[in-house]
Amino acid sequence: MNKLDFDTWLALNQLYAEYAAAVDSNDWDKWIALFVEDCDYRVQPRENHERGLPLSTLALLSGGMLRDRAYGIKETLFHDPYYQRHVTGAPLVEKVEDGVIVAQANYAVFRTKLSQETTVFNVGRYLDRIRITPDGLRFAQRHCIYDSEMIPNSLIYPI
């Protein structure tokens, strides 16, 4: 199968929308629930990606690490408060094989700090592998490969 049926296409778009809603509303339980347990989530500079350098800004390689990050955000990381807002482009489906959808999409994340204007925070594309599970579509891989050459100070919430 290399083409999605209409229901799966709708589900894929719904997954992308749910992901953006979860990370924009600080709903970390929901964010974690959108991944399979043996997941691979990375936020990586485009420079490293294209040069084959393995370092990521964030590399969370299991559901456990996603939970550790969520705990860090809620309990341990000090940061200036901010809102983030994702705008995700339409999925580009590359192929479907063995119950996995290989897709990518452009994204832009805006940051709004209290008492300040909104700025572009991070821009890039998602490189996804989405597993078709009995519970619905789940991310097996989400790599956020960002063009932005500089992180404006720090990156706390997942992209």
């Binding site: 500079p45 350098l53 370092l55 690490m65 550790d68 341990t76 500089m150």
Partner: protein, 417 residues
């Protein structure tokens, strides 16, 4: 009441334990810092030899605010040249890295060798037309006089430093024997492998980054991860050491395997006794023979770089100032040629603790930004760095701000403030 914005800033405090806010906000002072700290008398970090392994390889870097290029010439030599064309001043190298046999400025195609010598000038001898020669450079024009600005280069253990100042002392004298020893502990001659980069722009004065890594007071308080897992805690076995002029420093610490004592955690809101890591790989620490004991050595080489060993994560952190109120902070994570695939994976996973999103480093950028905001608000005020007293000395504990006092003791001398 004193003016909020002093017209002529005067350091009216004794010693170096109270640092005026204007030391971080005054633009003229910042220009003097570029002049005296980055462009004269100091070795500045430019990169790692492993970034330019082959003849023809180059990497664009920066010293202070001046763009430079690190190159490996055909003969294998390492060179650093300024990225400004000798003709019309254009910053001609725009790629971040690559491989070339020569540099060509696109504007008028002046060409340079990788060591910075001017090779070719189009129409140098004019253009023949109707039996006469039009234009051309004056007869006395000598290409040897118009190369790129060449910097003095020192490379040790695979780390490349450069200076615009050709009269500078040797790198070893600059570091001093104690700092050289800690430098050699990390860069002991093994080939480095580049794992990748992280880049962040921090809206604060560049000195705050040096101070952050000269401040052993905060890690066990600001960074929950450190205090809870004993990576950096006030009761760890530790030493603070400086060079003879107090400009460079090493914070040396050995992770405590014991439960935290109540003095260091009582009332510390960041300490979470019930905190458990879900995925233990985040703290899967495997001691390496070259550590010779300490689990962390954080080294500040003034003014431009920090060398990090925090358990299995090693990196260079390059400070690239941009105006008095902002700097770019570039992290280069590396490993060693003899690393097993498991060790490489471990270094990459522990990198989650560091960098602009790190469990323990993301907050550092945040507190620097907010400190700068406080300074801009009332430059006539001053910070207080008096934990452990007023003096400057090496210590065998970390309950002190002696390294910050040391840095400003040196800064006042060089800056004549």
């Amino acid at each position: 009441m004193a003016a909020v914005f002093p017209i002529k800033p005067v350091w009216d405090q004794p010693g170096s334990s109270r640092i005026p806010f204007w030391a971080y906000t005054d633009e003229a002072l910042y220009k003097r810092e570029l002049e005296r700290l980055f462009y004269h008398g100091h070795w500045c970090y430019v990169g790692l030899e492993a970034e330019i392994p082959n003849p023809g390889d180059y990497k664009r870097s920066v010293i202070g605010e001046r763009s430079v290029i690190l190159t490996r010439a055909a003969d294998g030599s390492i060179n650093v040249v300024e990225n400004v064309c000798a003709h019309r001043g254009m910053q001609f190298c725009r790629e971040r890295h690559g491989n070339k046999t020569e540099f060509v400025c696109p504007y008028h195609q002046w060409t340079y060798t990788l060591t910075g010598d001017l090779q070719g000038v189009p129409f140098r001898r004019g253009v023949k037309q109707d039996g006469k020669v039009n234009g051309g450079m004056p007869k006395e024009f000598n290409t040897a006089d118009h190369g790129l600005t060449k910097l003095k280069v020192a490379s040790r253990g695979g780390v490349v430093f450069a200076s615009f100042d050709h009269d500078i002392e040797s790198l070893e004298d600059f570091l001093g024997p104690d700092m050289t020893a800690y430098f050699d502990r990390l860069f002991n001659g093994r080939k480095l492998t580049i794992l990748g980069y992280n880049r962040q722009r921090i809206p604060g004065n560049w000195k705050l980054m040096q101070e952050n890594i000269k401040d052993p007071y905060h890690p066990g308080l600001l960074h929950t991860w450190f205090v809870t897992y004993g990576l950096w805690r006030a009761d760890n076995k530790s030493e603070l050491k400086m060079d003879a002029q107090y400009r460079h420093a090493a914070m040396i610490s050995t992770r405590s395997q014991q439960a935290a004592t109540s003095e260091v955690t009582a009332g510390v809101t960041s300490f979470k006794s019930g905190m458990e890591i879900n995925d233990k790989r985040l703290l899967d620490i495997v001691p390496e023979p070259w550590w010779n004991g300490p689990t962390a050595v954080m080294m500040t080489v003034f003014p431009s770089v920090i060398f990090q060993q925090q358990v299995n994560s090693v990196s260079t952190r390059h400070i690239q100032p941009d105006g008095h109120g902002s700097f770019d902070f570039v992290w280069t994570h590396f490993g060693f040629e003899d690393d097993t695939p498991e060790m490489t994976e471990r270094r990459l996973i522990q990198a989650n603790l560091f960098g602009p999103a790190g469990f323990v480093s993301a907050d550092d950028g945040e507190v620097i930004e907010l400190s700068q905001m406080g300074f801009e608000q009332k430059p006539n005020h001053r910070t207080l760095a008096e934990l452990g007293g007023y003096g400057v000395e090496n210590t065998d504990h970390m309950v002190t701000e002696t390294l910050i006092r040391g840095m400003y003791n040196y800064w006042r001398k060089v800056m004549e403030i």
